[in-house]
Symmetry: C2
Subunit: 205 residues, 2 copies
């Protein structure tokens, strides 16, 4: 890779660090470094301290492995939530998206990643074992909902987990996939449209 | 602005901090915070330390105000550079771009910003006074080249500086503007094309 000549080693080190973030190129990294240089020193210290604090003091919910400031997260400790329905997601962003719908009243299990041999992430890098242990004590009629991405990695992960938990007597479901609400048929991709036909549902007027 | 519900205050603080960077939205900030959480602790500390170090120990060249690890930057201390030609730029990125051309052998003056009333940046926030003081001692025949952006702020800044230095007996020039080399006339914007006609140059075959 072509590397620019920086007038200062301090600047170059900071650009290298910012450039290591995913999706941030070297030009953007330099722009961000110069932005931080123009900020008051205490603002920059606050910026870096809040990142260090997150990394140093992060905790995960004992039950569902979601990032939490407490030993048990606010969802798992909420008695109005249905503990017999466990939605399996990749990370906390998925929890936030599902919570934002206001349509889900069960609890979660956060894998903290997705099985991806290309990225060197295997089953032991995600919280599958915690899920298996959690389901061993599960009550009769517990349902596990896979809410994983629809790509190869998501499907591989779902299949792996399914094999681990299929002997535990839980019901396993997966998010409905099909045309989005309001989607035009003529603009749908043919894979989605084909599966929507195959998985057609009873008409409920 | 709609603010998401975060499962952890630590996470929310880090997202707020990353979101304060220009061009980084809340979704990207959350993605970056979760990326940093997955990195080894020492990598995150290295990341934040290199930013703190830049902000805490940054130095500027005594002569040209460019970011530098020394009291005088490598360009100003290079005896092969023509000290009688001073290129005035907004920030260090412009120096790097011009240096990358390999076509410039003079020195620089880095303003560290551009006059912009909308952003609350006035003449005292940039290094105009340093430039004026530098030019007071200038030798006969010194040339100042304005290499500022072609927008209103760039032109305002150039005009302001011109008024400050016009009594000092230096030659003042500005970067050539016109069609880019290789540009098609039919695709040129009409402002650029119009100015290219007005500023036409002798044909040198």
């Amino acid at each position: 890779m072509y590397k620019e000549k920086y007038p200062s080693k301090l600047l170059e080190d900071a650009v290298d660090a910012i450039n290591s973030l995913p999706g941030v190129g070297r030009k953007s990294a330099l722009r961000l470094a110069l932005h931080l240089l123009r900020q008051p020193q205490e603002n920059v210290h606050h910026f870096t301290a809040s990142i260090d604090k997150l990394r140093d003091h992060v905790r995960y919910c004992r039950t569902c492995r979601m990032i939490s400031d407490e030993d048990v997260c606010s969802i798992c400790s909420d008695n109005s939530r249905d503990k017999g329905t466990i939605c399996v997601v990749e990370d906390v962003r998925d929890v936030m998206s599902i919570e934002a719908t206001g349509q889900y009243h069960g609890v979660y299990h956060v894998l903290g990643g997705i099985i991806s041999p290309i990225n060197g992430i295997g089953p032991s890098d995600i919280t599958v074992n915690d899920l298996v242990n959690r389901l061993r004590d599960a009550e009769e009629g517990t349902e596990v909902i896979f809410a994983l991405s629809g790509d190869v990695e998501g499907e591989t992960t779902a299949f792996y987990i399914y094999r681990q938990i299929s002997g535990l007597g839980v019901k396993v479901t997966s998010l409905a996939r099909g045309l989005g609400f309001g989607d035009d048929i003529e603009y749908a991709d043919s894979l989605t449209l084909g599966r929507s036909i195959a998985n057609r549902q009873p008409f409920r007027p």
